[in-house]
Amino acid sequence: MAQNTRTVGTPTNVTQKHNKGGIGESTLRPDGTLKVTGEFAYSSDMWHEDMLWGQTLRSTVAHAEIVSIDISEALAMPGVYSVLTYDDLPAEMKNYGLEIQDTPVLANGRVRHHGEPVALVAADHPETARRAAAKIKIDYRELPLVTDEASALAADAPLIHPGRDDHHSGHVPHPNIVHRQPIIRGNVEEARKRADVIVEGEYTFGMQDQAFLGPESGLAVPSEDGGVDLYVATQWLHSDLKQIAPVLGLPEEKVRMTLSGVGGAFGGREDISMQIHACLLALATNKPVKIVYNRFESFFGHVHRHPAKLWYEHGATKDGKITHMKCRIVLDGGAYASASPAVVGNASSLSVGPYVVDDVDIEAIALYTNNPPCGAMRGFGAVQACFAYEAQMDKLAAKLGMDPVEFRQLNAMEMGTIMPTGQVVDSPAPVAELLRRVKARPLPPERQWETAGEGADVRALPGGLSNTTHGEGVVRGVGYAVGIKNVGFSEGFDDYSTARVRLEVINGEPVAMVHTAMAEVGQGGVTVHAQIARTELGVTQVTIHPADTQVGSAGSTSASRQTYMTGGAVKNTCEAVREALLEMGRRKNGSYHPAWAHAELLLEGGKIVTDGGEVLADIADILENEAIDLELEFRHRPTAAFDLKTGQGDGHVQYTFAAHRAVVEVDTELGLVKVVELATAQDVGKALNMLSVVGQIQGGTTQGLGVAVMEEIIVDPKTAKVRNPSFTDYLIPTILDTPTIPVDVLELADPNAPYGLRGLGEAPTLSSTPAVLAAIRQATGLELNKTPIRPEALTGTL
């Protein structure tokens, strides 16, 4: 495609009129029916003639020296083709990592967390591979554990990564701190003197898992040129590629990646899981190798959301104005860096929430520990902060005797507000309006479980069909929260997306083909790309090319960025294709009609028309046998790094906001919670597909509910081992736990963004959790500083 990559000049600023199936319509997902009927091919469904099955052997302890590994028995098993350990790695490079390459492909003499990969087996049957892996004998000598801030920073603390020399190691106060970001603005001590009330709180956020339903899986096929073709479910093909090729000792062009069916991601596929392992086994055996994790292994196969301890102090004047904020956020990054540095940047820069606070003293750090590695998950550092600052807002309002919504509105940021980082919010920030909207909704009727005489409808009660109450002990609570999230990659990262668009005539009709490397993980990018191409090119037929590395990077499907970034790239390339088509038209037909020379020309219904609607030509007649095929990169406006001492800098691209009102019913005697309704309002700038928008908002809201009342990976502090790696004991909400979620969508355009749109996927995950917590606090009168809430916390039976 490289020969087609050329700059064709800045596309003219023409606004295409509406085309059928274009942006703004709720067109249906192309993969929707297949997924609902079970026919969609996920990455775990792949099959190849003569393929082998890979199995990973993982550490059974959290921190140990590997004294010896004996693979002889495993290797001797019939059906086993290969057993690999650290010693078999083919290249100089033996580590990988998103930002810091600190993660060994296979453990090198030391394991740093429970479930770390130590050895690989390829066999002709998955069961044989599993049994062979079980026959590998590893002698561990256990080492002292680092499990929290105290043990990480103790005088005699073992260093998780001794001798680290990454770009953060120079500025962190201790080698067991991955990254530290302070933000200082104004003068907190002076501002504190103006405060009539001061509230303080210490909050704990549990370790949440992405819990995507399609486990990690992929297929690596060795090729004749000594390279490998990898079919895999991931969030960012090119980021994987950059980490895979060096450890295989191959140039990037010899590792060809194609996205296969992704069963959810939520951040959990940003890091490498089985990609390198499958390639290593395929290259070692010269056979295709498939790896599929089961659910148990999946809990060890990807990073989780950082658990956090957050300490906050706020002050306010008696008329309700926040004077200052001090906070300290300690994120547990686990054994490897993953996305920890960026999570720290987000947690600190968004720690004040969507409020005007001029005087702040903020510190966020991420620790290296022997706990499971933590990294990206929907909301990315902003979630933990929102849980804490929203609890603080309620405490402040209560202390001032003010209504919690009015108090928030009084302090709400708006366009023009200056962030703690010094960045000016330069597009709509309707924080007060979002709160107004959720508050104005009528409340759901009380005691909906009461039926006409025939007892209680337990489905409407806490406990549901488990029949634990017929109304006894049940108290209603209502809570509010609002949050702020950044969109796109921040802190000076060169964030871009690439789109290739080909316009040609097939069977007499103009057809657009959109080719990107965007990972469709369920967010609906493939739907939106087709809509954009229809709008910009006036065609009906759009083909979405499979996502692969034969086209430039699309960046990650994360940070609420894909519609903005790869959607923006598709728009951008389509505009260039349109220009090229019009140029071709002028060349071929220009002399037939004066409008070719001067009028603004649009593409509509397969035709080139003037803005007055006069048809100049069929697109097909202009193109004839030629194809216009362009591949262009698209960038958002640049951002800057945060100053390492003051945190100042225009670090973010765009902000996104959502508010929630939670209505809960709590069985106060049993400590069980029924979330009755989670009303939400969100500004999306421009809804390219309202059906998808609402789906994203409802899904994000539900994920936030999960970590409010049930979702937590429980790590034993004595052993740093995961205690609940299964869906039996790691609970996610079922449809019975999911309340009615009325959604109010605002469309206030961001002039800097394509179509004015605002990234939207993460914001609902932020405020949903603190809204539920606030409602439970109101129902019970308890302080509740830890999420998720367990029945024990509500009944004094911990």
Binding site: R130, N294, F296, G453, E454, G455, A456, D457, V458, P462, G463, G464, L465, S466, N467, T468, T469, H470, E472, G473, E669, L670, G671, L672, K674, V709, M710, I714, R723, N724, S726, T728, D729, L731, P733, T734, I735, L736, D737, R790, P791, E792, T795, T797, L798
Partner: protein
């Protein structure tokens, strides 16, 4: 792992006699999880899927004979009137798909304290009909659970059916989980009033090494009901009786702390459930709110 597929009950008994370590599989909703998690690798699986008589039930005068493999869905749909406690318990089992496959025989065979049907079976009163090539016998439910995931079956025996006493009064069942559906029990409680004998029976799940009855609570309540003439006068149960019943039920627990809940919470919750269920069943017995024997929900 060998897979044995007897075509008849006789063949199944013969297979179990020949391979006493064979693990019977019917719905597979428990054993398949164990196998998938690699917690268990039996040498033989004995598939009971072809044996029709295990999926049959018969409602008699006093007793319902429930085949070991009758799925929970069938119990919910067909046996609510005669076995209301078990029908309520069946409602709480996992998801519709699992309820279409799982049956009481599996719960009894695995004898996990977290099995949803145990408290209802204990409260209703029943006998488990087991058989081997040596013959058949009836094991009273009170003698069935012998330890953590252990039961009174001999190595060559299979569970054929459960003979459950038909309800003569209201029955209730509740389970606590941290999710409103599809959840393993943190603890469970069942209560059955037996006006024919003027007694009550209880069952506690997931709060002791085995499913147990709260015997002291039963004895207290039997005495209190008798003493106050409650069975005849139909008076409202006094709050102090309900409270003490709850406390005694709580005291009957011998729970552990685990990832699903603390021992303290389990004791607490069983006490609350016992108190509430006493009020529900007694109010129903008094007929004050016109509920049928089918219970709530």
């Amino acid at each position: 792992m060998d897979f044995l597929r007897p075509a008849s009950w006789e063949e199944a008994l013969a297979a179990k006699a020949e391979y006493p370590t064979a693990v019977p599989i019917a719905g597979g909703t428990d054993i398949m999880v164990e196998i998938n998690f690699d917690h268990r690798r039996p040498d033989y699986l004995l598939d009971l899927g072809r044996i029709e008589l295990l999926r049959e039930w018969e409602v008699g005068e006093e007793v319902t004979k429930l085949g070991a493999s009758v799925p929970y869905t069938q119990i919910m749909e067909n046996l609510r009137a005669t076995l209301p406690g078990l029908a309520l318990a069946s409602h709480t089992v996992a998801s519709p798909q699992i309820r279409n496959r799982g049956g009481v025989g599996g719960n009894l065979g695995c004898a996990s304290p977290a099995g949803d049907s145990h408290p209802a079976l204990l409260a209703a009163g029943c006998e488990v009909e087991v058989e081997s090539v040596r013959g058949s016998r009836m094991i009273p439910i009170d003698e069935f659970y012998t330890g953590v995931k252990r039961n009174a079956l001999a190595a060559d025996e299979l569970i054929k059916s459960v003979h459950i006493k038909n309800a003569t009064g209201p029955q209730q069942y509740s389970k606590v989980g941290t999710r409103n559906a599809m959840v393993i029990a943190v603890c469970g409680f069942g209560l059955a009033l037996h006006p024919d004998t003027r007694t009550v029976r209880t069952g506690i799940g997931s709060a002791a090494p085995t499913p147990v009855r709260a015997k002291a609570a039963e004895e207290f309540l039997n005495a209190a009901l008798e003493e106050g003439g409650f069975w005849d006068n139909g008076k409202v149960i006094t709050p102090s009786i309900a409270k003490q019943f709850g406390e005694l039920a709580s005291a009957a627990c011998n729970p552990i702390d685990d990832v699903r809940g603390t021992a303290k919470y389990r004791r607490h919750a069983v006490g609350i459930l016992a108190r509430r269920q006493l009020v529900w069943t007694w109010e129903q017995y008094r007929g004050t709110n016109g509920r049928s024997l089918e219970g709530a929900a």
